[in-house]
């Protein structure tokens, strides 16, 4: 056991500042344990959002020493002895109080994401899908919606004005999930990604992938494949030429 200094940002939308706490830290503890100790012993009204404390629900997102992290999965032995640990709320979303932010941006973007479209000719129980065909989408369904990727993405983090046109990495993997779903009946996912979700804003600097606690390869497996699919539809002259020539008599269908 040792005593460590924590700087925790406290305040709300009106303003705030860092509060310092000297707290005991035991072997094997994570940052969230320490925040709970601060609550129990120093500041009972310290606002923090958490649920499962096992890295499965994605509630306790915050920034620790400037890096977006889940507090429940950030072990204290990550930090050198004697170095103060600074905890702030997510800095891309409006602050509610202390470490809690208003993440409704992400839910609003999800509201605009067209849902899975079930195939018209299959009844429940008749779905047949091969494991190799569902695996790509399954990777994206590991997402626990901690919104660390949304928070880290500089497109909205540093440019508030991009929030309306840009849906963010969380929704890009949703778009990829559905575009790669073996039975999804819509064929406009990539157009929607480019035109409605602002896929073009992404400059693939990969911070979303870096902070993902589920280790989803957001950039390589979702964003870039979606950009490639868009490129195939819109910017590939060979495909474009082929379409011009062969289009007569048949309507475009999804690949494969």
């Amino acid at each position: 056991m040792s005593t460590r200094t924590f700087r925790v940002w406290r305040g709300d939308a009106e303003g705030g500042d860092f509060a310092e706490f000297d707290v005991a830290v035991n072997e094997g503890e994570v940052v969230l344990d320490v925040v709970h100790r601060i609550q129990a012993e120093h500041a009972p009204d310290l606002a923090v959002r958490w649920n499962c404390k096992a890295g499965k629900c994605g509630s306790c997102s915050a920034e620790v020493n400037g890096m977006p992290r889940l507090m429940c999965m950030t072990r204290m032995n990550l930090f050198a002895e004697g170095e103060p640990v600074t905890i702030t709320p997510l800095r891309t979303f409006p602050v509610v109080r202390d470490l809690v932010t208003d993440v409704s941006f992400n839910y609003e973007k999800a509201r605009r994401m067209p849902a899975f479209a079930p195939p018209a000719d299959l009844k429940p129980g008749e779905y047949r899908m091969q494991q190799v065909d569902v695996e790509r989408s399954q990777e994206f369904r590991k997402c626990i919606e901690c919104f660390l990727c949304q928070n880290t993405c500089h497109v909205v983090r540093d440019h508030e004005e991009n929030k309306p046109p840009f849906a963010g990495p969380r929704l890009f993997i949703r778009a990829a999930e559905l575009d790669m779903h073996p039975l999804d009946a819509r064929d406009d996912r990539r157009e929607a990604a480019q035109d409605e979700q602002g896929l073009g804003y992404c400059n693939i600097t990969k911070c979303c992938t870096e902070v993902c606690p589920e280790h989803i390869k957001i950039t390589d497996n979702a964003i870039i494949p979606m950009k490639e699919r868009v490129a195939g539809d819109r910017y590939d002259p060979l495909v474009w030429l082929g379409r011009k020539i062969f289009r007569k008599g048949r309507s475009g269908s999804a690949a494969g």
Partner: protein, 631 residues
């Protein structure tokens, strides 16, 4: 203060109010909205974070995709055995019959389960299930379920928007806690609560309310449950005049993490054992062979060779004893540790590293691999895990009608963990996810029906003001810090009402709970109303306390051992107790217990079992009477 509070109350109304946004609540909401009703879902945390995400192994449904011998009768039989025949047989029957449809339906909402070679939903083995039965997605099935239902709700909202309907047709109000139900003449008419973010109050008028609030696990220190599990629905139901049954039965999952201390209790999925992991004590002995109870001898292997053959040839070998129902495994681990054969940190070893390849483990159990790597610095492909029992699930809950999920209070329904009866004295792994789908749907359906024939209720200013005053009381109190009181309550439950119980200890627990009662009534909240966790906990504490009293009282009353209730001073099952449910209700402020007969199984269902098996649970008259009827 109270005047201001009244003026600041947000007033809402709907047809069906769903309290709880886990699997059961969301499934109920989908059904009620599809029935054309205006629905409000109240979520204690953010939308999509409910405790359902923690479910790992899968959802049990006798689809017969992996073993064609499986059918609802076999599933029913396993469920009754697992619950030691204390289950509400009709619930177990409906559950086994409807679970496959509920799972298939999820695929039409976009769920992506793991597949069999012929493209159907893959099913995995699990404790107590005779055949591979659990539809799953790796070891994150609960997440898939919650996300699928969440996205289905969003799609219904999109449909409403496209049809030109207002947003009030289906609303999800997140980070909101309900503190009180409004009841008039034996019927519910609404609920009162606060938004966590602002502390602002909310009163919702609704003729039908579905409780889907989950369990009570946060009353224990070592638990796999998230902070939301404070028994809100159990307590709301009691205070509204409904009854709870089987509150003495709490499932301790045999395998929770034990080290480091900060993660003690976090679940290690049963799939580790279903996929080949075995339990060993500090002497390296695979001890579960020593703990096969008489009633299960026919189904479980008594030697390692047969047990290991079962993984590849389940039709000709008996199952490994590591896959006994959870209560048996938890007790066995407890005994090993007590006998001094535990690990350094007071658990036993769960070893899959020496039995399966690293690739197999990381593919089948990705989140377990991840969890141990990141939280305990243990590579489970190379070293065994240390595990021990953790409070996981309460079988007891609101007494409901099997068909409609209706409680005794008109208009009040309950589904999922907050309801009781379905699982009897012990729940099988995998039956929880299917339970919440089957009965969540039914609760939504019948709540919508009830709302259709019930006039819109009115809430009076007086009752709202009274509820507001109640909720604000902790700010005016001069008592203790809520965190200390929660720790005290957890200590009582952990020490005296845990996995192994004794009459004197339960009496002591009740006495200590009694001294805690005034302290909790006088709990103090510091600070303001905006996102104040101290205040939130202060309000949750009384629910936790009420549930703890119900559990301790019922545990003291039932002097036998069955499923999730083990009495050291009354070992073994007593057939006389098999016929009795303990029913808890409130008489004023006092919790009272009454005895009630367990519904008797129909002859057809009794006929699914071998009489020699029934003889292990029932008095001869019970099963012989049906033999006579059969003849």
């Amino acid at each position: 203060m109270s005047d201001n509070a009244i003026h600041d109350v947000e007033r809402l109304a709907c047809d069906v109010l769903v309290i709880g946004a886990g699997g059961a609540g969301l499934r109920a909401a989908v059904e009620a909205r599809l029935a054309g009703k205006r629905v409000i879902v109240i979520s204690k945390s953010l939308f999509g974070k409910a405790h359902t995400v923690m479910a790992e192994g899968g959802a049990a449904a006798a689809m017969g995709n992996v073993n064609a011998n499986d059918n609802w009768q076999v599933h029913f039989r396993d469920t009754m055995r697992g619950g030691k025949f204390l289950n509400n047989y009709r619930m177990a029957e409906i559950h086994a019959q409807e679970a496959p449809d509920r799972i298939w339906e999820l695929e039409t909402y976009g769920a992506l389960f793991d597949r069999t070679a012929d493209g159907r939903i893959s099913q995995r083995n699990f404790g107590g299930h005779e055949y591979p039965r659990l539809a799953h997605v790796g070891d994150r099935t609960g997440l898939e379920l919650i996300r699928t239902l969440q996205q289905k709700l969003v799609s219904l909202q999109q449909d409403d928007e496209a049809a030109g309907e207002g947003p009030d047709k289906l609303q999800v109000i997140d980070e909101t806690t309900i503190t009180e139900l409004f009841v008039e003449q034996g019927a519910v008419k609404g609920a009162f609560g606060y938004r966590r973010g602002t502390g602002r109050f909310m009163a919702i008028a609704a003729p039908a309310i579905v409780l889907a609030t989950g369990g009570i696990g946060r009353s224990f220190k070592v638990t796999s449950n998230s902070w939301e599990y404070t028994g809100d629905g159990h307590a709301l139901a009691l205070r509204a005049g409904a009854s709870l049954i089987n509150m003495e039965f709490i499932q301790f999952h045999p395998t929770g993490m034990v080290w480091p201390p900060s993660v003690r209790g976090i679940l290690v999925t049963e799939s580790v054992r279903g996929d080949g992991g075995v339990l060993k004590n500090s002497e390296g002995r695979r001890f579960m062979f020593d703990y096969i109870p008489e009633v299960f001898k026919a189904q479980y292997a008594d030697n390692p060779e047969e047990a290991d053959r079962w993984y590849t040839d389940p039709d000709h070998n008996r199952r490994p004893p590591e896959l006994l129902p959870r209560d048996e495994v938890a007790r066995a681990i407890n005994s090993e540790v007590k006998a001094g054969r535990g690990t350094e940190h007071g658990g036993v070893y769960l070893d899959i590293a020496s039995r399966r390849s690293a690739e197999y483990i990381t593919e089948r159990l990705p989140s377990m691999y991840h969890q141990f790597k990141e939280l305990a610095d243990v590579d489970i492909t190379a070293a065994p895990m240390e595990v021990g029992p953790t409070c996981h699930y309460i079988m007891g809950g609101v007494e409901v009608d099997a068909e409609t999920a209706a409680s005794k209070v008109v208009g009040l329904y309950a589904a999922g963990e907050v309801s009781g009866g379905m699982h009897g004295s012990n729940r099988l792994g995998g039956n929880s996810l299917s339970d919440l789908l089957v009965f969540g749907k039914r609760a939504g359906e019948f709540a919508a029906e009830h709302a259709a024939v019930t006039p819109a209720p009115e809430l009076s200013e007086e009752e709202i003001a009274a509820a507001a005053q109640d909720a604000l009381r902790p700010f005016a109190n001069d008592g203790e810090n809520p965190y200390e009181l929660q720790a005290a309550l957890q200590a009582v439950n952990g020490r005296l009402v845990g996995i192994i119980r004794r009459a004197e200890e339960l009496e002591e627990a009740l006495a200590e709970l009694e001294t805690l009662r005034p302290r909790i009534a006088n709990v103090t909240a510091a600070g303001g109303r905006a996102y104040n966790p101290g205040w939130h906990l202060a309000l949750d504490l009384r629910n936790m306390h009420l549930c703890s009293v119900a559990t301790a009282k019922a545990a003291l009353e039932r002097d036998e051992s069955r499923g999730g209730h083990t009495r050291e001073d009354a070992p073994g099952m007593d057939p006389a107790w098999r016929r009795i449910n303990l029913v808890a209700s409130l008489d004023g402020d006092e919790l009272v217990l009454t005895r009630q007969d367990v519904p008797a199984m129909t002859p057809e269902l009794l006929g699914l079992f071998d009489p020699s098996e029934l003889a292990k649970y029932m008095t001869p008259e019970e099963y012989r009477s049906t033999e006579a009827e059969d003849a």
